[in-house]
Amino acid sequence: MSLWKHPRWMAGLCTMAVLACAAAPAVFLTAVDAAMLGRRAAVKDAYVAPTPSGEDYYILRQLTARQQQESSITYSQVPEAGEPQGALKMYIGAQNSLESMMNGYQYRDTVDATFQQLTEKGVIAPEWASWASAWDTGSALYYSYNGYSYDLSVPYYATDSLGFVTLKRFALEQGALYTVFSLTMDSRTGVVTQLWVSAPQGGEQSPAVPDETSLRSFAELAGLENLGDWAVPENTPYAHALYSANGAALITATVSPYQYSGWADGTTVTSDRWFLSLSLQPCTAEELPTLVS
């Protein structure tokens, strides 16, 4: 039939067509929504939190650079291709004997504060800090072989070209000079990387040894707790140690008796003492020693 002859049909059909077109977007969008909503789509290259590594920490980079100055397999005056990244072109080490160190009277407070902090954080027992900080205010002088006299009531310091500062206090034992403490810190961050304290041997009982909690506090003071995987290494010969595989860093603590022997007025002087040695150093997994049967 011809639609033109039935105007009402025509009107009806047109209305339906218009309504259909008007509704089409809504229908389309609802259909698309139904298809998309509620579907899980995995993201290509999803973000994964990076594992911290030693390279991310300034103090570990510094320690590694200092260590790389030591063993080197090649003898070559021309740097070879593939030299390890971060290798220094030049390294000047610190001096370590009294005669070549500088008088550090202005750093006595820094030293006291550092020991205070170590004690407060539980890294070392208070007795070690008090042995270390027992500054002899009785103006004891040490007369060295080079003709100079040294005031023993102040710390002495030396630095290396990487910025590690070593502070030492010396004292006299029966006229012979010995090191009371040796404290190595990074000059930019103040992080303690090496500590040695010598104590008189009071009795048979060993002074307190830093345990695992103390070593963790030490890691925290060094700003390295975010390495996240500090743990006592398995099968280790070290009495008290904490190792992080992510940072390739090792913290060890030792308290041991030792016999100090020195020289005074032409005679040998020996003295039984205790020492505390606490250190943070780079150590790759291959270098970490294990007990051998």
Partner: protein, 479 residues
């Protein structure tokens, strides 16, 4: 037409809408993460038997016992020649079979320029190798620079020993020194009993005194001495192409010997890692070492596996192994030092620790002559020689009359024989005949006389020698 037009328009509209719906693609499917490629495992070659190629107290070796012959260097002015002393025929020949060769230039396979510093001669398979490291006095510069810096002043003012040479000869002498001092590390490989030679350069330069052990396919050693808190790197130099690879070692570890497929190493065992004494001072470093023990281990450099041999208290010396004298036939040779008053010590005995039984056994207690030394307990030569069984130990000593003494200990019978036979032509008043090698047929190769450039050698049956005979079979120069 209008109807058709409007219908087709409506159809087009509907279709395009349908197309839109279909066009919303299926949701993105994440790419399957590629599994990381498994690292290709290198085929690890089975290590052959180790043998020592350095006698430990010169940087280099004085000779190598290959079982049928003894290889050594004949030192001349400015160069050295590799020689082969054949035991069967008692002849010594320059290791060169190039016809008409005058043995005084680079074209001779046996000719090695320079003073022979740090050279190590050894054999592996049927080839003779001379390992030449970078010398300590390494010179980085051209021959012209060297000529201007070193040679010209020496031409004006001749050093001792060169006064009688012509100018040409002096220049040639220094040219040879220059070649030695500027050369990178390498291995001369002499083939065919002196027919030809090639130089294999190593992939890294290595200084003197590093590689002292060979397993037939590679040389082994360590990068630095294990001391002062250092951690050395073990290195392996392949004989075929000179490529240098490394294996890890422990802090302050030192390789002391090798046997079978393993290296003998020693390292201090401490409560904490040892710091660098240059950083913390010697007092701190020594304090930490006071409670240390020294652990001797077998180390398999291929797998990195270690097993403990024995543990002893640290003796306070630089390496903690001052009393260790050598490894021979599975036995570790030691001196027994006992402390006296005032910090001194005294030697009480020579003894061995047998790794097979775990037992300690005295060799000589007390030590008959206070000057007696066991210079180097290890035999420099191939692994399966009769000498490697360690039956005869040579001791040297001296007395205040200026005599240089020697003794031979037969470890099986326990008999100690003082060597009475004297070397001929020596500058010192008395010098006992010295040991060079032991042959497979029960004879000693001995240094029987001193010459201007080295030694005269002779062979004698061991039993007869120990009885005091001087009836040597002299080693003559081969025609």
């Amino acid at each position: 037409m209008k109807r058709l037009f409007s219908i087709s328009l409506a159809a087009a509209l509907t279709l395009s809408l349908a197309g839109c719906a279909a066009a919303s693609a299926a949701p993105a499917v994440p790419e399957a993460t590629a599994t990381p490629e498994a690292a290709p495992t290198e085929a690890v070659p089975a290590a052959a038997e180790f043998y020592t190629i350095s006698d430990g107290y010169s940087y280099g070796n004085t000779g190598f016992n290959a079982g049928d012959a003894w290889y050594s260097l004949d030192y001349r002015l400015g160069y050295a020649l590799v020689t082969r002393t054949d035991y069967a025929t008692a002849t010594r020949q320059v290791l060169c079979s190039v016809p008409g060769c005058t043995h005084d230039s680079e074209s001779c396979p046996a000719w090695v320029p320079g003073r022979g510093t740090g050279l190590e001669i050894f054999t592996a398979g049927d080839k003779v190798y001379v390992y030449h490291p970078v010398v300590t006095m390494h010179y980085e510069g051209s021959w012209e620079d060297f000529y201007a810096e070193v040679v010209e002043p020496k031409l004006q003012q001749r050093p001792d020993g060169l006064e009688d040479l012509t100018e040409e000869e002096v220049v040639a002498y220094y040219k040879n020194l220059y070649v030695e001092r500027s050369a990178p590390t390498g291995l001369y490989c002499i083939e065919g009993n002196g027919a030809s030679r090639q130089n294999v350069e190593t992939s890294q330069n290595l200084p003197q005194g590093i590689v002292c052990w060979c397993d037939g396919t590679a040389l082994y050693g360590q990068s630095v001495a294990g001391t002062n808190g250092d951690t050395p790197t073990g290195c392996r130099v392949a004989l075929a192409d000179g490529s240098v690879t490394t294996f890890p070692m422990l802090q302050e570890e030192n390789i002391l010997g090798a046997q079978g497929s393993r290296l003998l190493t020693a390292h201090p065992v401490t409560d904490g890692p040892l710091p660098d004494p240059n950083d913390v001072g010697w007092e701190v470093y020594r304090g930490l070492l006071q409670n240390a023990t020294v652990e001797y281990d077998w180390l398999d450099p291929v797998t990195g596996e270690r097993s403990k041999v024995l543990e002893r208290p640290h003796d306070g010396s630089t390496f903690g192994t001052q009393d260790f004298l050598g490894l021979l036939a599975g036995k570790l040779y030691f001196e027994d030092w006992s402390p006296l008053e005032e910090g001194n010590s005294q030697r009480e005995a020579f003894y061995v620790y047998d790794t097979a039984t775990g037992q300690q056994q005295d060799l000589l207690r007390p030590i008959p002559d206070a000057s007696m030394q066991l210079p180097y307990g290890t035999v420099v030569g191939l692994p399966d020689l009769a000498a490697q069984q360690g039956q005869y130990l040579w001791f040297t000593g001296y007395d205040l009359n200026g005599e240089n003494l020697a003794w031979v200990l037969d470890t099986r019978s326990g008999t100690l024989t003082a060597v009475e036979q004297q070397m001929a032509g020596t500058q010192l008043p008395h010098q006992a005949v010295l040991y060079a090698a032991q042959t497979e047929d029960g004879r000693f190769l001995l240094k029987t006389g001193e010459t201007e450039t080295g030694y005269d050698y002779g062979l004698m049956e061991i039993g007869a020698f120990l009885q005091g005979s001087t009836d040597y079979t002299p080693v003559t120069a081969a025609p």
